[in-house]
Subunit: 295 residues, 2 copies
Amino acid sequence: MARTTPRRWRDIATDLLQRIEAGDLSPGDGSSGRRRLPPEKDLESYYGASRNTVRDALSWLQQQGFVVSEQGKGTFVVHRPNIVHVTLSAAELGLAPGNRSGQWYNRDAFIPASREVTVSPVKVEVQEGTKVIARYLQTNPGSEFVSRHQELFLDERPWALQTSFYPLSFATEGASRLLYPRDIPEGAVAYLGETLGYSEVGFHDEIRARIPDENEKRFFNLGDSAADVVFETVRTAYSPDGKAFRLTVTVWPADRTRLHYNNGKVPDDVLRTPGLGPSDHAPRESPPADDAGSG
Amino acid sequence: MARTTPRRWRDIATDLLQRIEAGDLSPGDGSSGRRRLPPEKDLESYYGASRNTVRDALSWLQQQGFVVSEQGKGTFVVHRPNIVHVTLSAAELGLAPGNRSGQWYNRDAFIPASREVTVSPVKVEVQEGTKVIARYLQTNPGSEFVSRHQELFLDERPWALQTSFYPLSFATEGASRLLYPRDIPEGAVAYLGETLGYSEVGFHDEIRARIPDENEKRFFNLGDSAADVVFETVRTAYSPDGKAFRLTVTVWPADRTRLHYNNGKVPDDVLRTPGLGPSDHAPRESPPADDAGSG
DNA sequence: TGGGATTTGTTCGTATGTATG
DNA sequence: ACATACATACGAACAAATCCC
């Protein structure tokens, strides 16, 4: 039945999605490697709908993360980058010593070998701690902290944004290098051990998913689609006396990141290659249905 | 002067967001406890813009998760539920025995005491494993699995969707209760220990964030906004001989869930009350700016 | 370098459909 | 049955970014 009833844009979106996933769009393309959809005017005549209706369909596809539109250029199929698997369990619990099939970044994140981690210069700030930071680090609200911020790249691509907080007193009582905007090659934890005698005997991680802020959108190249969210992990490190002495906040783009934790005895191959290799299944939003409900 | 320049909807969205967060909208409301925005027609005259432009603004607010529109009823400020903190580290590593300030659900998830977990009836299916399941459980693609699916509620509210997979051979070789759609009070792991001698000596977790499918949207009452994403945790449990014998996939609504992991020695109060209590800071999308960019 | 064509972005106007109360 | 309110759809014009000759 010819539905003069609404939902015209859903039909168009469904059909476009099908054509996108079948790959039969813009056959003779290849300009910048991105697949391009026909211009709105063409879709208008192809589907016999008004431009606004076509735009409603494209808008839904964009919101769901399937396409992205760029003024003056066109609408393009979104290319989702490869998944990066990051292991966050402690180094001590996981790999046998001498294992060379992976590397730890900052003793916090384990990634497969053969991938290269590069970092931006450290940006150091001294700030009054927010209530949240003070609570995590068990200090008085209003006390000062050193924050050390870095942009992390994996194979030259944006990978994570990381900020560590330390009580300012650490820097004034021996660990002065915390204040210098330079990398600490041996790692901040080891340095705090040498200078102040701290050692990390445990940590607590809190994981959330949220919408990125403008800065994160720029760095990770994220848009407004529902697929463009970030993980935020907050790691609190504890010394033997139960004092929190480091707070590290890391932000990861969730569309290309999987977080892994190991606990207890886990086979070596799982430790080495989390995610298990080949193609990752990617269950996305199901095609628009009139009403998927069964009650 | 009628400004013909673009971005009219951004101005409206910014202003509406400000009014929402200031709380000065629909002063005399209270019908169902939800704050309601003025109808589109009113906003049309209030801002001196066309209805379509007002709708563009509302559409953005909805996409960002600030409001939700319901046909025939109105547009309402979104009420984000309280955050639930869930600890996923193994029971053995964490709490001292006899600690009564919390409870483990299924030995997998630790939540504060005083909250009540209820579960739906178990839905049991026997299915050919997907490639992914077979890979995780180290079996041949095409072999059969028992899946046990449950809806979990916390204080009567939807909390998580959980599905566990076991090789069908487990059920045919002694652990027949896996096939019955009834709860296994002592826990499936303990039951597999009694019947088949399996014990869980370690596990591996993989965490992702993704857009919910239609079923998850219904269960968790999620919409299409970018704030409406879910965590999916995949837990693989290992026995002493390194064999994976259980695969549990759990889906959590990310807007009201924080995941926690402990590792090593962590103070007791952190173990007991992850999230540290009072109000959770909720950095959301910053108000729309003309262009936050510098390049 | 310029200028016109292409393509998406924004805004307005209008009409009708559908859900709610 | 009627009014309210959001959803869908069409048509039209101009703005802004990009592309191309």
